[in-house]
Subunit: 510 residues, 2 copies
């Protein structure tokens, strides 16, 4: 479909590409970097790291997309202000004959890894026209996916080991709901309510029933208890009941216990209850007390309703304060909780607008050498790092990540003292001696070489989940803090910093 | 594809549907209402109305979607906790043999119209199973679309008649970028940078070039002026130049004027410039002064960079203050401005999470009559209005919309005094005499009758744009205010209010 192919792009990518073609620049090799400018700031809380996501589906899309007959017809239909064709047939012919993304190579930080602002998370090397045409679809796919994986990872940390389920489809942005599901799984969610996306990714979808089921029985002269009994009859081994349609403590929990007792007598093990309104922490404590008293100490208690990382963190703290007063063991209760997180996860509530960019950093000259490209801004932090580069992660003696280091492409910092220069203020420098460093890890891998996928696992969700878990274990707790996290260091090598400052000086020059 | 069909849904819709099938409820006719609970609150500013969108694509989807072989296989793959199949073959057979959405009828407020919270914007009447299965995809499609159409309408009003272009794809949520484009056009945008979506909807896409084009020429030992000349050469009648790659006033505008003069000598009319950073209001004034001096009084000045309704409103005010000091006519300048609005539009910045819901309101009884359904909440405002209903808009003698009135299905309030009851506090009542009312308009139309589309124009963008313009002209300026708008009245008829209170009382009963 036209709206899902190569013309899923901003028009200016096409007008620029035609110009490159006309000026003999279209096939000159270029490098563009994908980077983002700042950590998500959700208002009352802030991220100190991001989890990268979206690469696998992007590579899949590149593998099947270029200008076909439908796309070429659409280009022919565009008119200038004087009524002529905007796109010439010679340009359209060139697009048709071009190798398209078959000429692209990509180096990228794999999905699921911790990443930081102003680092080249991904670099595309391709003919200028091809790299330029990739900009919009690449940003569109990486920005949202990374935002949701990051938000999920924060929710997972707030939940402190309890399972988190993604329930966001109904309020996620249209078809992006499927991307939210995939990104949530990369970010650490235990599962999702999204049936088809889960199935396709090899996960079991989650969920039982809504208020409407109870309403149906009541509108049909039945009761909440009738609805619960019906559910237990149809799903005796998967019986998780939503208990707040009428009144959680007065009706829902007692009715659920009645049905659970009936199930137990028939030899089945009830799964648990879901609370979806009211003071969730208080109701969880009171529900746990009632379930325990009836002998259902193992029944899960699923909490949902406008949850996010701060709310979950608050709920857990309230439970620690309140549980004892009702004879409930707080730690046991926390261990049986499951969090269903929907709207606020799938919309990255508080920070819906990612700031990822894709910038030209180098252009091959006609004689074959590379020329670094730069864009000047009055804000030093907005000047992209020029040239062809590599990205490293430096671990301290404890094995904790202490800095991300960007170097020029021919530089390997391993095995010697590491010099770190501030990316915007070159006078700010520090040095790590060899004995302060336990590892220097190149964190990007080549995932595409001349259009050929070179990393079979680039879209593997389980591998991405494992990467996230491993990276978080090596991240300073201060950086992982939900509110006002400690700032992680991103540094340049002295050589890169010098190149950048030289280019800035030359730019401002005579 | 599995992830775009009927299984693009929350799993619990399927488990509930199987239960309805087992209990002989699946084919009982039900009514569900789509409504939203509150106006968007963007933090520092708030909406006083919404613009409905998303209906056309939803109806298209319903027309092509049901359980096919791939969907049935996916259902068969789901296991219970004890390893049995969760979905029985008899249920899957029933789904296959069912008419699906061919049994659904829908009444809805057409796209582009002003709508308010807690009104039944759309009602589905269908077999219970079919209506239940529609919930997730319906909410997913209407929620985001309405949010973006609403945001756009606010931006349009802030722009005060100037053209607004949607530039949001790169930071829109993945494939929802296409929905953002469609919704922005419904909300009043003059165009979008999204090539394919614009083309498909019959609009010309917008956009010229990015900073990268200037960077390419500079990295290739050229200059900004070389880049501009190349652009003018390729697009002599569509020449709009981005002037802030180096320095807007010192480099970009002077170079653009040089190129515009060359174009003029060759008989072409330059289109204008785009400013994408810095103090946009100040730079617009200074750029206008320079363009005027060179005789390009008609050249457009496109502003972009993190714009939203408040920023645009501030820019316009600053221009009114500042233009005179530079000899620029403020009103003329405001008239030549174009606003490119991207990220903050496509993500509904400040309010990314819509709160639309789809609730059971009536169920047909086995004897053929209707039974109203209700869901109780401790918050009166969250109790949905029960039963089969109609939605009216009441206009005062000036022709201004004064209230939306929800009545029972057999009630026509036209031509007599209109009694309005507060939806949550039934003691709050008022009456409009016949001479206070100029029109009582039924604002929903039947768009589907037993699966058949009954309103050919349900997806027509131009018709939706016209509806929005007409509705805004009939909306009180206080309600349209960007900040702290006046609250529009939504009322119930006395009969509906009585039914609701009776059901609440019965629910809480003995």
């Amino acid at each position: 479909m036209l709206t899902e192919g190569i013309l899923f792009t901003d028009r200016y990518q096409l007008t620029m590409t035609q110009l490159y073609h006309r000026y003999g620049l279209a096939e000159r090799t270029a490098q563009f970097d994908y980077t983002f400018r700042s950590y998500p700031d959700y208002g009352s809380h802030q991220a100190g790291y991001c989890i990268t996501a979206g690469l696998g589906p992007l590579l899949d899309w590149m593998g099947r997309t270029w200008f076909g007959p439908e796309e070429r017809e659409a280009l022919r239909a565009v008119r200038t202000s004087t009524g002529d064709r905007l796109f010439e047939e010679s340009f359209i012919d060139w697009l048709r004959e071009s190798d398209g993304f078959g000429a692209a190579s990509i180096w990228a930080v794999p999905e699921g890894r911790v990443v930081h602002p102003k680092t080249p998370i991904l670099t595309v090397e391709a003919p200028l026209a091809v790299a330029q045409l990739l900009e919009t679809p690449l940003l569109n796919r990486l920005n949202y996916a990374t935002l949701i994986a990051t938000k999920t990872s924060r929710v997972i940390e707030a939940a402190g080991g309890a399972a988190v389920l993604e329930f966001g489809m109904r309020r996620a942005p249209d078809a992006a709901a499927n991307v939210a599901t995939r990104s949530a799984l990369i970010g650490g969610a235990a599962g999702s309510s999204n049936f088809a996306a889960s199935h396709r990714l090899g996960f079991d979808s989650k969920g039982t029933h809504a208020h409407s089921m109870v309403q149906v029985f009541m509108a049909d002269a039945g009761s909440e208890l009738d609805a619960f009994r019906a559910y237990a009859e149809v799903y005796p081994d998967d019986c998780l009941l939503l208990v707040d349609t009428i009144d959680t403590l007065e009706s829902g929990i007692p009715n659920a216990i009645t049905v659970f007792e009936e199930l137990r007598r028939r030899g089945h093990r009830p799964v648990g209850v879901r609370l979806d309104s009211g003071d969730l922490a208080h109701l969880a404590v009171r529900s746990a007390a009632l379930l325990d008293e009836a002998g259902f100490e193992d029944a899960s208690i699923v909490l949902s309703s406008e949850l996010d990382e701060l709310t979950i963190w608050q709920i857990r703290n309230q439970i620690l304060e309140e549980a004892g007063g009702y004879g409930v063991d707080a730690d046991r209760l926390l261990g049986r909780l499951v969090y269903g997180v929907g709207t606020r996860l799938a919309t990255s509530h508080g920070y819906p607008s990612p700031d990822g960019v894709f910038k030209l950093v180098a252009l091959e000259s006609p004689d074959g050498g590379w020329r670094p490209a730069i864009k000047i801004s009055e804000t030093p932090a907005k000047v992209p790092d020029p040239g062809r580069k590599r990205l490293w992660r430096v671990y301290d003696r404890r094995g904790t990540a202490t800095a991300d280091l960007i170097t020029l492409d021919d530089h390997d910092p391993a095995g010697r003292p590491i010099r770190l220069v501030h990316p915007s203020y070159p006078e700010v420098r520090r040095m790590l001696t060899a004995h302060q460093v336990s590892e220097v890890e190149p964190i990007r891998v080549q995932v595409m070489d001349g259009g050929r996928r070179t990393s079979a696992g680039a879209g593997d969700i389980e591998a991405a989940r494992a990467r996230r878990a491993r990276d978080l274990a090596r991240l300073d707790p201060g950086v992982r803090r939900l509110v006002n996290p400690h700032t992680y260091h991103v540094s340049l090598s002295p050589e890169l910093s010098d190149l950048k400052q030289d280019l800035i000086a030359g730019f401002k020059g005579p």
